[in-house]
Symmetry: C2
């Protein structure tokens, strides 16, 4: 079965895992990426906001008889969701949550409103008037976090330790959002959902060291409360729209207060997901079974070409509490261009 990954960039480990069950086709807007020689085939496509992006992807899908398309880069999600039917028409299943879900995830204001709507524990987000009141002298507990509502990774995040810093960073950060600090152990939870929004894998890991939003040391820690909280979050998210494929969820667990606080949901593979694979979560095999069910449904003439796969045996797999220690490797190319 053929799987297409977009924006492959540096995702060598992810490609390596998926190759255990798929022929992996990679595309990227740049040829200057180290992953291209690790995929079974590589195509350069336009950037997702350039003209011809969707057409180029459709052409690669036809050429390579792609069954599953997994996008890796947030700005692509809206565009692909809008073109979902075009892909399904040629037998390509998008492994991507529906638009209501990707919208909630991509905008931190919407994420905060979603948490509030379903009583999901999360740090309080201050309204604009609340921020102005704090700047104006109202009592507040510092530090507060100032971050761009549409930011990715850890870019543009500042801790305001006092009123003056809050005032400055609130003006300095574009589209700024102010939140209270969550405390405790920071978890990232790697999740895989089937096409019906049911979690196949929920693998929490502690972030031990992060460099510019990319985790460099991490340890699987099957904390029961974190796993249960994640299940609850996914149930709520499924009421907003269809959840599908890989998710990366972040939360803090404060042991002394027995308090869980969710801060972020990304509807895609996180950078640290190879640890989940190494710990025993066979995403590739599960995705393959999902793809086969879809193909069987399509062959049987069912409405959306889907047949509910049985993933019980995957859910029951034992996950090991491994530690991941990361380093850089390189590929070298002749410098002339």
């Amino acid at each position: 079965m053929n799987l297409l990954l977009t924006s492959i960039g540096k995702r060598i480990e992810l490609i390596g895992h998926l190759k255990t069950s798929f022929r992996v086709i990679g595309v990227d807007a740049s040829t200057e990426n180290p992953a291209k020689s690790f995929a079974d085939a590589f195509y350069r496509v336009p950037r997702c906001r350039e003209e011809g992006y969707v057409e180029a992807l459709l052409a690669v899908c036809e050429e390579e008889k792609v069954s599953l398309l997994v996008p890796l880069y947030e700005p692509e999600f809206e565009i692909l969701n809008a073109a979902r039917d075009k892909f399904e028409e040629i037998g390509v299943k998008l492994v991507l949550s529906g638009e209501p879900v990707t919208e909630i995830c991509n905008d931190k204001r919407k994420t905060a409103a979603f948490f509030k709507r379903y009583d999901i524990p999360a740090p309080e987000t201050l309204s604009d008037s609340e921020v102005e009141a704090v700047i104006g002298g109202e009592q507040a507990e510092f530090p507060l976090i100032v971050k761009p509502a549409d930011g990715m990774g850890s870019e543009g995040i500042f801790f305001a330790e006092n009123r003056r810093e809050l005032e400055f960073f609130y003006g300095y950060v574009e589209n700024a959002l102010v939140q209270r600090c969550a405390r405790g152990k920071e978890y990232t939870i790697d999740v895989l959902c089937d096409f019906y929004g049911q979690p196949v894998y929920i693998v929490p890991r502690i972030r031990l060291e992060v460099r510019s939003g990319e985790v460099t040391k991490s340890r699987v820690d099957l904390q029961r409360r974190v796993m249960e909280g994640t299940e609850g979050l996914l149930r709520s998210l499924n009421r907003e729209g269809r959840v599908c494929g890989p998710m990366t969820i972040q939360c803090f667990w404060e042991e002394s207060e027995q308090r869980l606080q969710f801060i972020e949901i990304n509807p895609r593979f996180g950078g640290g997901v190879p640890l989940a694979f190494a710990a025993g979560a066979d995403y590739a095999a599960a995705l393959k079974r999902m793809g086969e069910s879809f193909a069987a449904g399509a062959a049987g003439g069912s409405l959306k070409g889907e047949e509910k796969p049985d993933l019980t045996d995957f859910r029951e797999q034992e996950i090991k509490e491994l530690t991941m220690l990361r380093y850089t490797q390189a590929v070298y190319e002749d410098g002339e261009r």
Copy 2:
């Protein structure tokens, strides 16, 4: 010949290269590092500011019959320079520049003063009173760069786009230094000097992509003016104190103005140096010849145990203009601890 590297952390590629000519002994303050299994032997030692650090290193050197000791982490340099004699007494040569040099490199104020003293082209550094005058309303060209004088990598560097940002960041950054912006192509120059401060290799590369101070895409570009400028800089540095071993120098080259501006000198291996190795710079073999000369001098009873090695053939090696594209790899360990 046995070579000891300190603070090995994630330096897998560096270890791999040095192993082509040495038995490589690695030490680190943490056992939770991915490099330890790539070294020929690994020892945990105290942090460099903790008691017993020098004694622990001396003990490892004796145990492992170490000839060359190459420290990788700036805060160690002063401590090792102070203990240099203790290492030489047991036949261990520090591959580390002398204290006047490491001091100039580690403190960006001293670097700026050094550049000025020798007319080395560099962006202007503003004095405290000049900064105050700009904040107070004096005409200035923005952006200005605000960075900690004792910072490492790209940590804590801010661009001030206007007076208000300058005022804020000047107070916000600890031990802040304000400089004019250098413009143009940013080069990192990997240098290896022999024990007499003579450059064996000068390999300039363009930084194409950097994440949190670590280069992820880079291309060797043997720009003549950059190489000549670097030679000049090294000549001046040798007048301040003995230059020795690996250096990582940064500059900007503005083609339209034919202007070179140096911004930083680090007396150690940079993170991107594996590109220089891949391009043909055989640091390991050169270091080995240097080590052999030192040992021969010591055996012959020469004063400091040194004999000037002939490194002409290394200097004449051709360097290829390669591109390096980096990605992460991981090692996994059982999570129990």
